[in-house]
């Protein structure tokens, strides 16, 4: 009988877990929808800014010394890591952090130093536990509520770190959202700016390379530069956030499904045990009755 009671308890707890994970799944998919819409609305902006900086970089390149273009001998590499604040989102954080760890180990082997700027509590605690020093941990505002202003804040901090020589190179570690079921940890060189050097593809993209600039190239460029950096950061934030929610949704869906299967199995076992005890009782009664008569 004790067995039956135990089983009942387990069925109850498993199904209440399913309820919780089911609710979390719904919340995650709602948030996902919101963030995804935001990311979608933002992507034309990113594309335009990227396009502009590529166009104008052709005009500025070589013309003067832009500090953010300067390549130094790399001794210290700065990482800007975007992880999540909360757990229960499947392999989202661990994928990202594994990739980061490999990269850092590689750098260490090459005798270089690593410094960290972090968004998201999970990444922060992970780094601290492994004895890494975190230069700055961004908590305010939380990533969920992050807007363009917070990207500005981060951008300023990173540019400051680069120009003041705290690190000679800055990389962005975030998760790129490819589809509802695919998110890839990505590394992106942030500073010095190298990727926007005029690619050979520039002409094929049929940019009109011959154009007027008012008032002049360096003025526009200097105004555009910070905007570009912020945009890159904000884009990475949105992508990561979308991935986080999608990942959580998937994990929670898996948990809910598994809990459902488990309840079914447990119910089967429970019913079998119950049937057994009933049969036993019946046998007892029949045995008792036949002994009396």
């Amino acid at each position: 009988m004790a067995n039956l009671k135990e089983l009942r308890g387990r069925i109850k707890s498993v199904s209440s877990i399913a309820q919780i994970t089911g609710a979390m799944e719904m919340v995650a998919s709602m948030k996902l929808r919101k963030v995804q819409a935001k990311a979608q609305n933002f992507s034309p902006y990113t594309a335009e800014i990227r396009h502009m900086i590529q166009r104008i970089a052709t005009k500025v390149a070589g013309e003067e010394d832009v500090p953010l273009f300067t390549q130094r001998e790399v001794k210290t590499v700065g990482f800007f890591l975007i992880s999540s604040d909360r757990g229960l989102c499947g392999s989202y954080n661990s994928n990202l952090l594994q990739t980061l760890k490999r990269k850092v180990d590689e750098l260490k082997a090459g005798g270089k130093q690593a410094k960290f700027w972090v968004y998201g509590r999970k990444g922060y605690t992970w780094l601290i536990r492994r004895g890494f020093e975190v230069e700055r941990f961004f908590v305010e505002p939380a990533l969920d509520k992050a807007d363009f202003k917070s990207a500005k804040l981060v951008g300023e901090a990173l540019v400051e770190a680069f120009t003041s020589g705290v690190c000679d190179e800055l990389r962005l570690f975030s998760t790129r959202f490819l589809s509802m079921a695919k998110f890839v940890p990505t590394e992106q060189l942030f500073l010095p700016i190298r990727t926007i050097a005029v690619g050979d593809g520039a002409e094929q993209d049929n940019y009109a390379l011959d154009f007027l600039i008012e008032p002049d190239a360096s003025t526009v460029f200097n105004a555009l530069m910070p905007r570009y950096l912020e945009t890159v950061i904000f884009d990475a934030m949105l992508q990561s956030l979308t991935s986080e929610h999608a990942s959580r949704r998937m994990a929670m869906k898996g948990a809910t499904d598994a809990a459902g299967r488990m309840t079914k199995d447990l119910k089967k076992i429970y019913n079998r045990a119950r049937q057994e005890s009933i049969t036993k009782e019946l046998l007892d009664i029949i045995g008792g009755a036949s002994a009396v008569s």
Partner: protein
């Protein structure tokens, strides 16, 4: 009749992506008028500017655009800016409140500080929004 493609893109949304007959907007160093087949161009948009859009049917629409960049190529004018609103999207009460707030801030600040510039920018934006909203409200075009 010739026309050009106008795109207005902000971080929150793409406000416009359609053919118009001409546009004039405030750049960092003065007002620009862009007609179809304008030469390729790149410039900044003023911190608190307005853009006057002449639609294909000749109607004029004024809107608020702020702090960004403009480029022209292939008969396309792209305004990439922080924010943009049509006159009828502007909430006059909120703008008023923002104006008052900015004025209060300005009064108490050192004229050389960065905060002063920020507050000044906020005031300019509020005034530009107010201007557009009022102008369209009375229905009078320039």
């Amino acid at each position: 009749m010739s026309e050009l493609l106008l795109r207005i893109v902000t971080p929150d949304r793409t406000i416009m992506d359609r053919m118009v007959s001409s546009v004039s907007f405030v750049g960092t160093d003065g007002r620009y008028g862009v007609l179809p087949h304008h030469a390729p161009l790149m410039t900044g948009i003023a911190q608190s500017g307005t853009a006057m859009i002449t639609e294909i049917d000749g109607k004029q629409n004024e809107m608020f655009v702020t702090d960004g960049f403009a480029q022209v190529q292939h008969n396309t004018l792209t305004l990439v800016c922080e924010a943009g609103e049509f006159a009828d999207e502007i909430d006059l009460e909120r703008v008023k409140a923002a104006e008052v707030r900015a004025r209060e801030q300005l009064a108490g600040l050192d004229k050389l500080s960065e905060d002063f510039l920020m507050a000044e920018g906020a005031l300019r934006r509020a005034l530009a929004r107010e201007m557009i909203a009022r102008r369209s409200g009375t229905g009078s075009m320039r």
